[in-house]
């Protein structure tokens, strides 16, 4: 506890009785609850997880492990579960792409064309959130089931090579796309809504046709929303395990989240591997996001 108290107490301490300095430190004081929250519920568990990821199996005592500095866990975890990492990134990437393809026209319509239907559309996007995420995913299992409407139609048209949709990557990507769609729509809508219609009119005045105006004015102005939306979709989708668990198969669609779950909960003594996998996933996503933001996110992000 002492470490926690120290870190937290430090910025608050100078805000003493001296009223002149109080104003100066007020922002830090306001920051304190958030910082404390992050420290206790993010930094400290992260450090704990990191130490677990370096522990070693206790020889001869299955399920027990001892403190150690064992970086082999990382190598083992990565080499053994490389396909799962690949799938996580691929599925999350596909889901982000599809969510974007669906969201942009939707957000565009809401921002510019919907008129009085705008709030109704907004409710339709947000309302599913009132039901549990798990329940909605299980409902997808029923919708995509072999006897369900989608699979039946596709089967009669001979468009389904394996004969079923659930237990394939299609179901997993569809589930991810559906579940994270609002995270894509809302930021894009927010940035499109801020676009001044006069700017678009100015585009027309300068002899640009509709498409050129969209390409050179609307799209660049909505980029902050697109960037935020893709990040909000990609990051949780890459770590998701519910969709792969409920909609996917045992072999070809499991993602990193599933391996972490089973190493934590099903394999005796799998804690260090699971922790190492969590850290590797975090590092991978951080690296990808860093490159992405560097490439596409200019100062407009703020």
């Amino acid at each position: 506890m002492s470490a926690v108290a120290h870190g937290a107490g430090a910025p608050a301490a100078p805000a003493g009785p001296d009223t002149a300095t109080r104003g100066k430190f007020l922002p830090y004081l306001l920051l304190l609850p958030g910082a404390l929250w992050l420290l206790i519920f993010f930094v400290v568990p992260l450090a704990q997880l990191f130490t677990v990821s370096l522990q070693s199996q206790f020889p001869g005592y299955p399920g027990y492990y001892y403190r150690d500095v064992n970086f082999r866990n990382y190598l083992d975890a990565f080499t053994e579960f490389a396909p799962h990492f690949g799938r996580s990134l691929l599925f999350a990437g596909l889901a982000t792409f599809f969510a974007f393809a669906l969201s942009y026209p939707l957000a565009y319509a809401m921002a510019f064309k919907a008129g009085r239907w705008r709030s109704l559309m907004m409710i339709c996007i947000i309302a599913p959130f009132f039901t549990s995420f798990i329940l909605r995913t299980i409902a997808w299992r029923q919708i995509l089931a072999d006897e369900g409407p989608v699979a039946k139609v596709l089967n009669t048209l001979h468009l389904l090579p394996g004969g079923h949709i659930t237990e394939t990557w299609m179901a997993v990507v569809a589930g991810l796309t559906y579940n994270f769609l609002p995270f894509m729509v809302l930021p894009i809508y927010a940035s499109l809504e801020r676009v001044d219609p006069r700017v678009l009119e100015a585009g027309g005045d300068l002899y640009a046709n509709g498409f050129t105006t969209f390409r050179t004015v609307t799209l660049p102005m909505s980029m902050p929303g697109v960037l935020a939306g893709t990040l909000l979709t990609f990051i949780p989708a890459a770590g998701d395990y519910v969709n792969a668990e409920l909609l996917g198969s045992d072999r070809s669609t499991k993602m990193v989240g599933n391996v972490i779950e089973s190493q934590f909960f099903k394999v005796p003594g799998g804690y260090p591997t699971a922790a190492a996998l969590s850290f590797t996933l975090m590092a991978l996503i951080l690296a990808l996001v860093f490159v992405y933001v560097r490439r596409f996110g200019t100062d407009e992000l703020v």
Binding site: P45, Q48, L54, Y66, R67, R141, E167, E261, V267
Partner: protein
């Protein structure tokens, strides 16, 4: 410090104990553990002393059964008589009425591993898991009793416990039944929808045939799925088989999964796949198919023991080390060992009833069921059908095989 560093688990446990004394929340505890762990991580490289395990004396919590008349029971899906119209468990309601003990029942357990992995850290830290009875399969009961996470039962409080079938009294993991009492036993075998499959499935060769490809579900319980497959490969699963036999069975599962025969490997949730038609056959537990018949109002669900043999397992009622309502838990166990009550439950769940005298009681309820070998199997039936228990694994085998099983089913 060198060589004297305590093993991680007891160390963390000690930290948690000291922290509890200073009234901290669970979140904070983790952070303390972290601070301790990171400090120790820097200095610790040599393997420490082995964990104490069974040497430590069992410390029982104070029993408050008399003041708090409650008992909280965690069980598997479709494992207690249930009335759809009242949405209640009739036998449990009768228990509440009779004893005044408020029993709460939850279908929390879908898989031994995932349930125990969730509660184990709390049990080890001595934190209440809010359950007074947990129901786990033999091999998992073995692990928990071995690790001192289960309270001993006072047989004197449970006169009906003497009704336990003689064959179940002396089990290797709990000689004399001091810690556990059988809830139900059952078989793993083939379950299928006769109308949809269109023929009878008598063996695993019938099950894994091309026309059922992608329509088959198997159990995530390693001992049942692998047990059936090993028996299919001619291994005596209760005998002294070793790694080569295990590897051969794992290779078969691998082949069936890669070939797309097996659609999913699942815990008790496989019943949903059978209901929705995503799967029409599979390796299942004996009682579930009867529940499925009632729930789907479809009498085509069939259960058979494959010709090569099936597995026999038991689930055991146990009082976790953190429970403060042991007496109430014992009252509940005693109640369910009354032959009349046991028969009532068996008539619904259709699993092997472990209570002597229940067969006679069943005669009154349903004479047909009293003759069912799936509820009251005779010694003769078990031998003829080659139904056996999966042999107990050593701790090292347990870990190695569990890891391989997890790998083959996709994680």
């Amino acid at each position: 410090m060198k060589g004297r560093i305590p093993p991680a688990d007891p160390g963390v446990r000690a930290l948690i104990r000291s922290a509890r004394a200073s009234q901290l929340s669970r979140r904070n505890l983790l952070s303390i553990g972290a601070a301790g762990a990171s400090a120790a991580a820097l200095s610790a490289c040599a393997p420490p002393k082995p964990p104490a395990g069974g040497v430590a004396a069992l410390k029982l919590p104070t029993d408050v059964s008399a003041e708090e008349k409650i008992v909280r029971w965690a069980n598997w899906t479709a494992y207690l008589d249930y009335d759809d119209t009242t949405q209640k468990y009739p036998s449990l309601e009768a228990f509440i009425k009779k004893t005044g003990i408020q029993a709460t029942y939850s279908e929390d357990i879908d898989d031994n591993d995932s349930y125990v992995s969730k509660v184990r850290p709390q049990l080890e830290a001595g934190q209440d898991i809010e359950k007074d009875i947990i129901t786990l399969t033999d091999w998992m009961a073995n692990r928990l009793i071995r690790d001192r996470l289960i309270q001993p039962l006072e047989l004197i409080q449970m006169p009906n416990a003497g009704n336990l079938l003689p064959a179940l009294r002396e089990v290797s993991f709990d000689p004399g039944r001091n810690y556990s009492l059988t809830w139900q036993s059952g078989f793993a075998g083939i379950g299928y929808d006769k109308a949809k499959v269109g023929r009878e499935l008598k063996s695993l060769d019938d099950l894994f045939s091309p026309d059922l490809k992608g329509k088959i579900t198997v159990l995530s319980e390693m001992r049942d799925t692998l047990g059936l497959i090993m028996a299919w490969q001619g291994v005596d699963i209760s005998g002294n088989w070793g790694k080569p036999e295990f590897d051969k069975a794992i290779a078969k599962v691998d082949e069936l999964l890669t070939g797309g025969f097996i659609r999913r490997v699942k815990g008790n949730a496989y019943m949903n796949d059978l209901k929705s038609g995503n799967a029409i056959a599979g390796i299942v537990w004996s009682g579930d198919l009867f529940i499925l018949r009632a729930e789907t109002e479809n009498d085509n669900w069939e259960f058979t023991i494959p010709e090569s043999g099936g597995t026999l397992w038991s689930d055991n009622l146990m009082v976790p080390i953190t429970s403060t309502h042991r007496r109430n838990a014992e009252a509940l166990m005693n109640y369910y060992y009354d032959p009349a009550v046991a028969a009532e439950v068996a008539a619904y769940v259709n699993y092997v009833c472990p209570v002597v005298g229940a067969q006679q009681e069943m005669e009154k309820l349903d004479p047909d069921l009293a003759q069912s070998p799936l509820i009251f199997p005779t010694e003769d039936y078990l031998t003829k059908s080659n139904i056996k228990g999966f042999r107990a694994l050593t701790a090292a085998e347990d870990q190695e095989y569990s890891a391989e099983w997890a790998k083959v089913v996709g994680n």
